[in-house]
């Protein structure tokens, strides 16, 4: 019964997003992400990975803003508009509502931006069966998780859609700008470490040049940081939503 209700809620949320301009916005931003990449592409042979790495920056940025905005709409917006109040008046458990929103929004964003990223690969002339595709997809997934968990956590605190969008996006962009593109904690830095390490493992040399030696420890820290922060933020948000959230 609980599982059936959960699946019904996921379906409800999916249909709701697909019936609103949310999908149009996401697809448009995905197209912009792919088109914006053309500025960074070099037609020189052997530059495919460098092009991919440089172009990822735009995709990550747009995805971070998109995920931050739409998760804020899903949680804070839903609370401030009164949708959560109506939903929680039905026989729905709070965890079901929390995770159904998360699952539906995450699915939509991941599919759309995942497709964008795949297009990115294709445009750079790299096969999707390449191990590097999955490595970069992991980096993309971690950034998406981080963006959505920030957005949900801020939504719980502020209950304001606009505040949540601004706070989540500024926080993530702030981290990226403070730690720089080669820091452990930035989106681009994470991609750099994964790219270099697994590029060397699978192709014999680091795809972005060998000026920095990337170790397994570097990769572990770069992956664990967003994973741990995401889990902590989601646990905090979940506990708040299910135990303490008051819907006026």
């Amino acid at each position: 019964m609980a599982q059936r209700t959960f699946l019904s809620l996921v379906r409800w949320e999916l249909e709701e997003y697909l019936s609103l301009p949310v999908l149009a916005f996401l697809v448009a931003s995905a197209i912009v992400a792919v088109l914006a990449q053309s500025n960074t592409v070099s037609p020189m042979p052997g530059r495919a990975y460098i092009n991919l790495y440089n172009g990822s920056d735009t995709v990550m940025l747009i995805m971070t803003i998109g995920a931050g905005a739409f998760f804020a709409r899903t949680y804070a917006g839903s609370i401030s508009r009164g949708e959560t109040k109506i939903m929680l008046s039905y026989p729905i458990k709070r965890w079901q509502l929390f995770f159904s929103k998360f699952t539906a929004m995450f699915l939509i964003i991941f599919v759309i931006y995942g497709a964008t990223y795949s297009m990115h690969f294709y445009l750079d002339g790299i096969a999707l069966s390449e191990p590097m595709f999955f490595v970069t997809l992991l980096s993309f997934l971690l950034q998406l998780m981080l963006a959505c968990s920030f957005s949900i956590a801020v939504s719980m605190v502020t209950k304001s859609e606009i505040m949540s969008i601004l706070a989540a996006v500024l926080l993530l962009m702030g981290i990226d700008s403070v730690v720089g593109t080669q820091g452990y904690f930035s989106a681009q830095g994470r991609l750099y470490y994964l790219f270099q390490y697994y590029g060397e493992l699978t192709h014999g040399s680091p795809p972005l040049g060998d000026q920095f030696i990337v170790t397994a420890n570097d990769v572990t820290v770069a992956v664990l940081f967003p994973a741990v922060v995401t889990v902590l933020l989601l646990i905090g948000s979940y506990v708040y939503f299910t135990r303490y959230l008051e819907v006026d």
């Binding site: 209700t5 949708e83 109506i86 039905y90 008051e246």
Partner: protein, 311 residues
Amino acid sequence: MVALGIAASIIQATKLVKSFGKSLAINQLDLQVPNGISGFVGRNGAGKTTTIGVLLGLLKPGGGEATVFGLDCWQDSFQIRRRLGVMHEINAYPGGFTAKRLLQHVARIYGVTQADQRIAQLLAEVGLADAKDKPIKAYSAGMTRRLGLAQALLSEPEFAILDEPTANIDPLGRIALLEKIKEMNKDHGTGFLISTHILSDLEKVCSWLSIIDGGRLVDQGSVTDLAAKYSANVYKIGVSEPAVFLAKLQELPIVKKAWIEGDNVFCQVQDPTVFYSEIPKIASNLNLQLKNFQHMVGTLEEIYTRTAGGT
């Protein structure tokens, strides 16, 4: 104040407290609502919606106790909501959905059997059959209220809480809606708690009334008892100079309370027989014209005015 037995109360609140920061929204509220159709009235900001929020487990009480069906509103909220239908004051339904689609989703959550048949019947009853395939965002405010009622009654609940159900609905629609409420109460035994400002609507359907003001219960009881209590020996007097008349009236020992509302003087007296003989004398002595004289027979509006109305 009339006290119900615990078993007879569907909703029971004892010394309920709820505050938002320093603002006390509900202050030691004692509320009893029996099965049947009950009215829940109070001015804006009296604490009605906050009380409903606590009853539904949407807000955590800061003190006291609140139960629905004998279950704790915060701890057992899920069990309570399985048996309740709720129509909120807000119309935050997904704008991209059609009414039919929304109700199909709600039916799935409640596990309603033969849902399509039930939805078609309910949409016809609330007057939305022709608009069932239109997106909700294209609905007028009144149509959205009707949809709110349909989703609240979809699961054929034991009890329904309706917050301002007739707001924005045209007069014919209001009559149909109130008829639907009466019919569900009569045929299925569904109980209702109706929070509204439109007292004439309540008068048509309610048998019980709870009045709150400033987050506190002012009074509650059966409409008949309250009407008798608050209209007992209350008179409305139309006179040419109400203020002069009031001053003289207040000097009479039989007058318990006297006040002016509009152009009329109202007073509550101890002994109507003496009062009847005194009124013409006062008017005559003061040289005032007596326009009308009426014994107030209890209406909800009158009960409300006497209790939370500030007189």
